[in-house]
Symmetry: C2
Subunit: 349 residues, 2 copies
């Protein structure tokens, strides 16, 4: 059912927040045939330790960022912490991008073989999404599923799937307030579904893939708290990005799938971190303002590409949220600068 | 987490389309402590064979229908075929109604014990639904789940859950065109989720439960094809009912959950039926007209109860769809008559 994807159509993007990238060894059999983009967090001083013998691997560091986009733009876009990966998204020239946090390793099947998340993400992205009507049997284009009786025939062709949001076992991706409970996620739900049109979701940057040609310019955040980005439970960048990309997908008629594939997440590092309650509260209150804004946002019909959508969205962010908190005004500036950069790098001559 | 439900707050409603109700034996351990309402299809001539020793069981037949609501109303409401069960819904006086098709038996766990669908339906109905924002970890109120990071705190209390749509293994509930493939559904997805606000779903009558106090008057169809109702793959009544109830839930601020529990469906009876292509095509084309109608329907703010919503909806059906096909005009008449009956039977004196 799904389109063949060539190996050279895929980029694996990894943000290096710590110097030791030994976790890549566990991914070797799944990702070594693809081009791998590693972006080193510009705030990380020490050199990277990367396992040898990945045949196609590019590493980008602060000096590359400065040479390519300049310190002023860099200070606005803040490619640091988990947002480091956006620099990799910007540089990718391939159709599909798969990005996983560096504290994740593959799940194993019953025979101890790593489960192929790239394959599953590509299956999600290369089969239609169905955001216009709910299918009770989940993604009808997934193996073993179909459209249930009564699913309108006119909607069965679906729409292009632009984003595939994977999940994780072990360390959950909860807010700081819940995280300390010591709860582990050991429940794998073998399903994929399309998030319906008009419904926002909390997109997590832990394990995500997207069709860069369809939606690439929308995969950027802009909303980053001061000091954010070293631990996921404080992060708002991916949540903001998720709402931006969902509004753009709804507007342009693309779908977002959520569910499989899973990765195995973290040791206990995340829960052992000191929780910065001040930062956590700041993120929470910004999101409480942002959610109804995104839920009711309407983009003009004149915006017909992801770039145009983000430019229009940045205007709305500045006008409607900018006064509520300077973080929003700064996010709007960053979104516009991102699109400017994107255009300069990707516009065909 | 979920509210205790007393046994006498639950009605099990079964439509008897065939005389042999021996399948109830398989349900005995799960349902015998509840009141069971059996409604005999008025088009069925032979007497019913019901296993003995269910302590609380009421049987209603054509003569009861005629005495209670009269032949004229009966001919309009057409409680026959799968729509027979609506008569049971009308007569129920308990808070929760669980209804399963007579070709379904319980799934068994690894020890051969039947899996308790009533318990799961009640868990779905007595915990909040979350239709206003998507939770990537499915129903956050289900055991073993929670809200994922970034789920807005202001929306975590959720809303009342009015309907729980269960699923089925073995014989799938596909349209006639797919059904003949011989495909079986053997994939159980261990999840429940809320269908987001604004998204329609193909509600199946195979395995469904609802909170009668919240939404009872909306659980009726009115759209029934001539001769429909003996085999599910021709049925449109539950699909129409599902779109009505979804619009009412969205309007009144209630949620609909879909997923667990599963039942084991059918022998091979359904697929061996001759497919009536004419009836199938008629149903399909009516739904193609009805879906966009329901997707864009807005009920007036003055409608604040399920009864009022259905009355308003009937008007819209007559005005906007009535000319397209006489089946719609008849459905509108039936919906109004249903509410009139409901009020006469349930309004507190």
């Amino acid at each position: 059912m799904f389109k063949m994807v060539e190996d050279d159509e895929v980029d694996i993007v990894i943000a290096a927040l710590n110097q030791d990238l030994g976790f890549l060894e566990e991914w070797r059999s799944l990702i070594s045939r693809f081009h791998i983009i590693i972006v080193k967090d510009p705030e990380l001083d020490s050199g990277l330790q990367i396992p040898p013998d990945f045949p196609s691997l590019s590493v980008y560091t602060r000096s590359d960022m400065e040479a390519r986009i300049g310190p002023e733009s860099l200070s606005l876009l803040r490619f640091t912490g988990f947002s480091t990966r956006y620099y990799g998204y910007l540089l990718s020239k391939r159709r599909y991008v798969v990005s996983i946090d560096a504290d994740c390793v593959p799940l194993k099947d019953n025979l101890g073989r790593p489960i192929d998340i790239v394959r599953q993400h590509l299956a999600n992205l290369t089969t239609p999404a169905t955001p216009l009507f709910f299918n009770t049997l989940y993604d009808p284009y997934a193996k073993g599923s179909d459209f249930v009786r009564g699913y309108p025939f006119g909607l069965r062709c679906g729409v292009n799937c632009a984003v595939s949001c994977g999940l994780w076992l072990n360390i959950p991706d909860f807010d700081a307030s819940i995280l300390k409970s010591g709860k582990r996620n050991d429940r794998l739900v073998d399903a994929v579904l399309t998030v319906p049109k008009g419904t926002m979701l909390p997109l997590s940057g832990v394990n995500v893939a997207f069709d860069r040609e369809l939606i690439g310019p929308a995969l950027f955040s802009g909303l980053i708290l001061a000091g954010e980005g070293k631990v996921r439970h404080e992060t708002v960048e991916d949540l903001w990005c998720g709402m931006c990309v969902k509004v753009v997908c709804d507007h342009l008629g693309y779908g977002i799938k959520s569910g499989m594939p899973y990765v195995q997440r973290g040791g206990d590092g995340e829960t052992e971190q000191e929780i910065q309650m001040e930062r956590t509260m700041e993120g929470t209150s910004l999101l409480e303002v942002a959610v109804p804004f995104f839920q009711t946002m309407r983009l003009p019909q004149s915006a017909v590409t992801a770039e145009e959508c983000i430019v229009e969205m940045a205007k709305l962010v500045r006008e409607e949220l900018g006064r509520a908190d300077p973080s929003f005004a700064r996010a709007a500036d960053a979104m516009e600068e991102w699109v400017r950069l994107w255009r300069s790098m990707h516009t065909k001559q």
